[in-house]
């Protein structure tokens, strides 16, 4: 596969809230020699239904994702959580269906989180001619970390961005408290968890928070902004693709003073 056909699973949050992550993903995938397509028939991976125990709707959503993506060589998502859903949970969800189980498995085996796909599958070792002046820290989102083994790959690529200094975040592997519908169902507990997280972030003195999942980023950025913090938050793909000219997450379109 010299130029594999990659179907970009945009994820609902990126589609709705932060398209620049989708464009960054396309840029990075193309730089890694992929031919990228974005099927229009995609909405969400179905986690809200799945995590609420609603198997009927999760199965139906899973089937429509499989239909839309099964012809690609790879399916890539700029999110460990959504890629983990396709990879780890679709086969389990459809295990009793003789028609859909093989299709779910086939999809699962070719589904990857963006950054680990670039490094592990496409052998990307560095990003060329990308610079971003920042003192950054990185949060490991839970599903990417524990379901898909995303840990070193983003750090390795970030290490090749000119001007970017990366300091490890103490407790980087502790959940930020987003958890999809968890943050709506248990807002007070979620708040304690994200407040603990932002305290750790602030203590690093970083001016930039990076992570690989927009859900976690919106949670942490939303809390940082509420606390009046100047620390900015971006998806790791934006920095790696050099698409950082727009506002950071939760920032106005034009930064004050410009």
């Amino acid at each position: 596969m010299d130029q594999p056909r990659v179907g970009l699973f945009v994820t609902c949050l990126v589609d709705l809230f932060r398209p620049v992550i989708g464009f960054s993903a396309v840029t990075l995938l193309e730089r890694a020699g992929c031919q990228v397509e974005v099927p229009a028939d995609q909405t969400c991976c179905g986690q809200p239904a799945y995590n609420a125990g609603d198997l009927k709707n999760s199965r139906s959503i899973a089937q429509s994702v499989i239909r839309a993506f099964e012809d690609f060589d790879y399916i890539v998502a700029p999110s460990g959580s959504c890629a983990g859903m396709l990879r780890a949970h679709y086969p389990d969800l459809l295990k009793d269906d003789p028609e859909w189980f093989p299709r779910a498995n086939h999809l699962a085996q070719r589904t990857h989180e963006l950054i680990s796909f670039l490094v592990d599958i496409r052998g990307m070792a560095s990003v060329e001619n990308v610079s971003f002046e920042a003192k950054a820290t990185y949060h490991d989102s839970c599903s990417g970390l524990r379901e898909l083994g995303v840990k070193d790959q983003p750090r390795r690529l970030l290490g090749t961005v000119d001007g970017l200094r990366l300091d490890e975040l103490p407790g980087a592997e502790i959940c930020c408290g987003f958890g999809g519908t968890f943050c709506i169902k248990y807002p007070e507990i979620s708040n304690r968890m994200v407040a603990d997280k932002t305290a750790d972030i602030t203590a690093t003195g970083a001016d930039l928070l990076l992570a690989g999942d927009l859900g976690c980023l919106m949670n942490m950025a939303g809390k940082l902004k509420r606390e009046g913090s100047a620390t900015q938050a971006r998806h790791v793909a934006e920095v790696l693709a050099g698409m950082t000219e727009g506002p950071a997450i939760g920032e106005p379109e034009k930064a004050p003073g410009t």
Partner: protein
């Protein structure tokens, strides 16, 4: 004990407002997590041991009837007695009957979560006996009339000042001006007081970490030595344990012991590991005259063969709660039953009913840390998910949440309609939020914006922007 898990949300809120609790929980997290990490780093075969421990426990659970009956045979051969209890009531009655048969007045107790589960202390008090907890943490919470908030550190919700206050209120025979500000002070004071209790107790009750089918032995691990004094000094030793504590052989106990203390306290081994096999034999220097084992089911056998069976592998090390950010935020009492934290969220619905406990498996972000640290490799998030499926089927979740979810799912299954709705909503939100870049308040998102800002969307969805991008590229690329 009467479950209070249906009050989880309320109790969690109260716990979050308790600054003392937050301080205690922070201390706990640091202590347990760092120690565990350090000790496991020194044991390269730790991951292999987890696999072995899981496999041997799976084998036991698949043949539990066989091993339980072998255990009973061996206990009987060694001169002990086994009492089967299907319910907490039967377990309490069995214990009381033994106590009455020797005309017991005082009962010392080693730490046991199963006796908490059956509410033994209150029952013994009502029956005219005096139970005395001898584990320091249990002793403290007994004085305070509280329940344990952690399975291996029952008083973890307390700070030193709380303990000092409790001791001064209860040990009025001692000098009111004595120093009580260090752990050693508490230990010394409790030891002096408990020493007399150990010597005068008629019956000693302990739990069991394992029941060994091969030898009929029960095993406890402790750090204070109180368990040994509890079971060796009185005339009668009663072990109260649940049926899933069974393991086939003595050697198997060695496998699990190697992961237990490391996962629990970060010790290589607990200070005391004590094997009890039958009553005192002729020629033995010490030991009880009678040895009884009360085996409690209380819903466990009904979990065999279900998606929740893996919870029965639990060896009650507490690693899942020590690492859980939800437990670390609200503490153990909020869970409302004997077993809190991730294992409680996976086990409790099976033992006390989904209606009572359905909040617990929902109170998780599925971050997966619990399963990562569980020495028995219990797939805790998977089992919590199983309960959520059951909850959804039984329509136990809040109606408003279900309606919202159903509406969202209806659109998510219809990409074209979804797209129309998304474009409209995002268009509006994008325009509204462009200036500040975020919302401090937004109708329908109050749960979110109560505590944090909501980052505003860009102008237009990715799909809209992508379609424009493709159109602009079209002439040159075709």
């Amino acid at each position: 004990m009467k479950p209070q898990s249906h009050l989880f949300k309320e109790n969690a809120k109260k716990a979050l407002n308790d600054a003392n609790l937050a301080r205690a929980l922070n201390n706990m997290k640091a202590g347990f997590q760092d120690k565990r990490r350090a000790t496991i780093a020194k044991l390269p075969e730790f991951q292999d041991l987890r696999d072995q421990a899981r496999d041997l426990k799976n084998h036991t659970l698949e043949n539990l009837d066989f091993y339980l009956s072998r255990f009973e045979d061996r206990v009987t051969e060694k001169g002990g007695h086994v009492h089967w209890a299907r319910t907490p009531v039967e377990a309490r009655e069995a214990v009381l009957e033994i106590c009455r048969s020797v005309d017991a007045k005082t009962v010392t107790k080693g730490k046991s979560m199963v006796t908490e589960e059956v509410g033994l202390n209150d029952f013994l008090i009502q029956s005219g006996l005096t139970p005395i907890e001898t584990d320091l943490g249990e002793y403290i919470i007994q004085l305070r009339h509280e329940l344990p908030s952690h399975i291996i550190a029952p008083a973890i919700h307390l700070n030193k000042e709380d303990v000092a206050e409790t001791f001064r209120e209860n040990h009025t025979q001692l000098d009111p001006n004595r120093r009580l500000d260090q752990v050693q002070d508490f230990t010394d004071e409790a030891r002096a007081i408990l020493r007399q209790k150990f010597q005068s107790a008629d019956v000693g009750i302990t739990g069991a970490n394992f029941l060994i089918a091969e030898t009929g032995s029960t095993v406890i691990v402790t750090n204070e030595g109180n368990g040994d004094l509890t079971q060796v000094l009185p005339k009668v030793h009663i072990v109260v344990a649940s049926i899933e504590k069974t393991i086939p052989t003595l050697e198997d106990s060695a496998t699990i012991l190697r992961v237990l203390a490391r996962s629990a306290t970060g010790q290589e081994y607990s200070t005391y590991t004590t094997f009890s096999t039958g009553p005192r034999r002729p020629g033995d220097l010490d030991g009880p005259e009678q040895f009884h084992v009360v085996l409690l089911d209380n819903g466990r056998s009904a979990l065999l063969g279900t998606e929740a069976q893996d919870t029965l592998r639990c060896i009650r090390c507490g690693a899942c709660m020590n690492h859980c950010p939800v437990y670390g935020s609200v503490g153990g009492h909020a869970y409302g039953w004997v077993v809190p934290g991730p294992i409680g969220a996976a086990l409790d619905p099976g033992l006390i009913g989904l209606e009572e406990a359905h909040d617990l498996p929902n109170a998780s972000t599925f971050c997966g840390k619990c399963a990562e640290v569980c020495p028995m490799k219990i797939p805790l998030p998977k089992i919590m998910h199983h309960w959520r499926v059951k909850e959804h089927e039984a329509k136990l979740s809040p109606p408003r949440f279900r309606q919202g979810l159903a509406m969202w799912a209806w659109f998510a299954r219809r990409p074209r309609l979804y797209r129309l709705g998304a474009n409209a909503a995002i268009g509006m939100l994008g325009r509204l939020g462009a200036k500040r870049g975020r919302f401090a308040k937004l109708p329908l998102a109050a749960g979110w914006t109560a505590h944090r800002d909501l980052p505003a969307p860009s102008r237009g969805t990715f799909q809209q922007q992508w379609a424009r991008h493709k159109r602009s590229q079209a002439p040159s690329s075709s």
